[in-house]
Point group: C2
DNA sequence: TCGTGGAGCTGACACTTGTGCACTGACTGG
DNA sequence: CCAGTCAGTGCACAAGTGTCAGCTCCACGA
């Protein structure tokens, strides 16, 4: 036992627990404001610790923001990869992708809202972190697309272009779902339109090499 | 003379001038922060007037934000409409649209940055204003698309879907251009990719009715 | 010509904010 | 078992915030 990285047992575990409670508190507060207007005291108050204890975990609010980005997007890569690899025909892949985004928004709306908001937000490091993560998604998606037989003749940069397009479509779909609110009918409408968008793009890519 | 709406001459003109200087000052400050973190005092300081004079023009910072939205997007509709209507073939329309967005970003980067940032930002009324304006663009684009012979058989909602897709593409292109910075080569790369995206979508829509 | 509406100013208020400093007390490794 | 580390506390400070009440002053309309 007791040989985890950076120290042993209880002490570190407690630290991580309050660190997590800081992240959680921040995420809740961020549902109704943006990171650059979120105060350090506000977060610590909501987390139930003294203001100065904040510095034991993060240098900045920006630092905390970056941590939130990692937390929300970091674990998603494997999920996405699996989902892309598992499906075979185009229509199935489309339905799967939209369903994946829909579930993400349904189960973790606060995270998605945070990402949508800070993607172009006022805090540089956070913006960059999100941008970098989305780029990774695009590269991964391109790699997955390259394995499809119908794309074997594609130029490398056209593939990347298509992958980035898909990523952007999914991102805008996510934020449209957020804007649709909890109303089931509205969400279904958004999902339907997202599927048609994807169908259109898939159709275009099928004739790309003409 | 002297029968402008709401009062006469010099007095009202002066008011509008300082109102404009408030908007200008805010826009400058908003290049490096988001609206929800922008202080009333900060703006009035930059505009060179007393803090309390702010209330003579706007109820809120949110109110000022909405005014900024109108200022930036209001005049754009006619431009876009003209641009769509003027061109004939698809490739020409694509080049024209991308060039229009590129010029917009080049000549009014602060406005574009503001819009990208506050589209999902922390201030509800501003978000709604931007969303509403973009919806108007989509409706207008749909109307313009409907006039094309190759779209005469399209279902109404498919047309709207396509129009919204185009709008989203242009918006993401605009923010990608901002992220590319002032480097000419990077911008050209973004514009090129935007054109290929549009080509792909146009290709897909050409086969939509199969 | 004079009275007035209203743009803009000054000063003050009650808060909130980020951060420095010295401190406590529980866990830790030797 | 004991000394040391360090997460978390309390207090203090300077600086900034939004907003209120009351003032000045001047273009305007009658």
């Amino acid at each position: 036992m007791s040989h985890t990285i950076g120290g042993t047992g209880v002490r570190q575990a407690r630290k991580q627990r309050t660190r997590q409670s800081l992240l959680d508190a921040a995420l809740v507060l961020l549902e109704e404001q943006s990171l650059s207007s979120l105060g350090l005291r506000e977060v610590t108050r909501a987390a139930g610790i003294a203001p100065t204890a904040f510095y034991r975990h993060f240098r900045d609010m920006a630092d905390l923001g970056v941590a939130l980005v990692e937390e929300s997007l970091g674990s998603l890569h494997t999920t996405v990869r699996a989902n892309l690899a598992a499906t075979v025909d185009s229509e199935q892949r489309i339905a799967g992708a939209v369903e994946l985004v829909a579930r993400l928004v349904r189960e973790h709306p606060a995270y998605v809202r945070f990402l949508a908001r800070e993607r172009h937000g006022g805090v540089r490091p956070v913006r960059d972190a999100i941008g970098g993560e989305l780029d990774r998604f695009a590269v991964e998606a391109a790699a997955e697309l390259a394995r499809l037989p119908e794309a074997s003749q594609w130029r490398r940069d056209d593939l990347l272009m298509l992958a980035r397009l898909y990523v952007d479509l999914m991102v805008t779909t996510a934020s449209a779902l957020l804007a649709a609110g909890p109303d089931a009918a509205a969400r279904e409408r958004v999902e339907g339109e997202a599927r048609r968008r994807l169908r259109l793009v898939a159709l275009g890519s099928r004739h790309w090499l003409d």
